[in-house]
Amino acid sequence: MAQTGPEPNDLFREGALASLLRLQWFIRMRFVMVGVALAALAVERFVVPGGYRPTGLIATIIVTGVVNVVWMLMSRWVARDLHAGMDSHGRAMHRARQFANAQVTVDLLLLTLILRYAGGLESVLAIFYLFHMGIGALLLRPMQAVIQGTWAVVLYACLGLGELGGWIAPHYDLLPYLPAPGLYQHHAYVFVAVLVQAIAVFGTLYFTLRIAQRFGEQEAQLRRALTALRSSRQAIKDLQARRARFMSTAAHQLKSPLAAIETMAGLIRDGYVKDDAAQQTVESIIRRCRDAITGVGDLLTLARVQQADPHRHRTTRCSVAEVLKAVCTPREAEARRKGLTFALDLPAGDVLSAHIDAADLADCTDNLVENAIKYTPGPGAVLVVARRIQRPAADDAVALDFVEIEVTDTGIGIAEVDLGGADARSVRSPIFDAYRRGNGAIEAGIPGSGLGLSIVREVMEQAGGEVDVRSQIGTGSTFRVRVPAAVEGVPAAPAAGPLGVATGGAAAATSMLW
């Protein structure tokens, strides 16, 4: 109890202290007390004409009022600092706490003086010690509250023991017209009264501190929930914005070939194309129709990948070697027709089992191999290599097994600016964004939907894999994907993938494409 409270309690206390300071709650209460006391004494003077009240009592009440004016002036200054910027918040809060602490200290002293003039140890007004303990435990740090409790007990004990030992003059009665029993003169009573007061003071402190602690924890929970709610709302907003952007870009990409087709057909109709060139224009129209169909196909692939259960990869095993053979066989023929050498390098005797859906892996690798062939003019080379590797996990605690697939070409390469800078080789590179194409590819007049690499990234994110790229203009590119290897008897890791993106449903919903 005597330790400094943990952070949640501080939050609760700081909130309560700040709001009470703003309302000048202490000041108002004290003015009410002074007003009520003076009014009661005035009324008493008329109702009970013979009642005698010592000047000290009136003086103490008036001093309380005067001190309260000082508190009021100081309170404005402290409260103004609390309103200031967050930079000075800690300092202002410390000052506010010290301010409240000083008020409780002086209040307890004035209360003891009032007791001295109104009933002493026997007075029911002693209950106001407990009132201050309640406030102290709610607003001050626990250690400060305990010190205030000790201060209250010491004051009360000094009052009783001082009168008992004759060091201070006997107190005045609470009600002068009722004879008091003079209990303060008995050792046993003084001892019991001080003991009971101490138990009441520390008991009140203990229970109030516990309640404040519980409130503090609840408030901390609420704050955490609120923060989570806010970030979820922001994530949903971002998601909606990305989805809207993607939708309009996709619509544009689907409309572009149709617009070109309409323009070219219009040229033939309006006689802008001579008869001998019409055949070529019709060929262009057919080619653009194929482009549109390819674009829609890629979009459907992307939709299929995004709609599928992202957990499917963890519960599946596929042979990377088999997938690569199936993908590379038709592509090899295509490469040779273009005058490229093509090689698939697989480790002997290892099927390279991995946790990834076979159809998705085929889509990914086919996209990479197709790109390598497409962007490599003959004579050139395309090399596909797969191997098993180990790399440390994010916390460097354990090494994880991956199957790494590298697709290297000697093609036109991608400019640094299109990769997103010299260091942007990872999944964050804009080259993986939907409908993003390198200027080199556009300049070379190589058609593409702009969706292939985003499909690769989507699948790798869902599978807890990695993807990166190295490229140099005129030299070629290397795209590398790594998928979690399947080890006999060991299930796939259920947590976030190495991409740092959770591989659960939320990841699919907030994937970077949308």
Binding site: R245, S248, T249, A251, H252, K255, S256, L258, A259, A260, I261, E262, T263, M264, G266, L267, D270, Y272, V273, T281, S284, R288, D418, P430, Y435, R436, R437, G438, N439, I442, E443, G445
Partner: protein, 134 residues
């Protein structure tokens, strides 16, 4: 200042659009130069100073053309170049609300000969680069 054979620079990543625009504008007395990317188009613009720039909005990224138009408008040496933006996406999709168009006109694809020639003539006339009776 008017010119007899206005020179048009087209920046578009679609080769079919290059051929179509050339096929439309050539018989109307325009000389068309084509570039496929933003950087090469900007270099050509600085070098050749064409009479009008036809600029596709969606190049290597969805807004590259728009950014390029703003860059041109901000460069005192070439800011006076008349610009006609073209895109398959509606203007509202690129510039929602009342956002100012960093160009003289916006043409939505598909392009027709009538709309394309009409737009170019209008913009050139506004810039005093063709005879008023042309």
């Amino acid at each position: 200042m008017y010119v007899e054979v206005p020179r048009i620079l087209l920046i578009d990543d679609d080769r079919d659009i290059h051929e179509s625009v050339t096929a439309i504008l050539h018989p109307h007395g325009y000389r068309v130069t084509c570039c496929w990317t933003g950087p090469s188009g900007l270099a050509e613009l600085r070098r050749a100073r064409p009479d009008l720039l036809l600029l596709d909005i969606m190049l290597s990224s969805p807004t590259e053309g728009l950014d390029l138009a703003r860059e041109i408008r901000g460069d005192p040496e070439i800011s006076h170049t008349p610009i006609v933006l073209i895109s398959a996406m509606g203007r509202q999709n690129h510039l929602p609300g009342r956002t100012e168009l960093p160009a003289d006109e916006y043409l939505e694809k598909p392009l027709t000969a009538e709309r394309l020639v009409g737009s170019i003539e209008r913009v050139l006339r506004a810039h005093g680069r063709v005879k008023s009776d042309q």
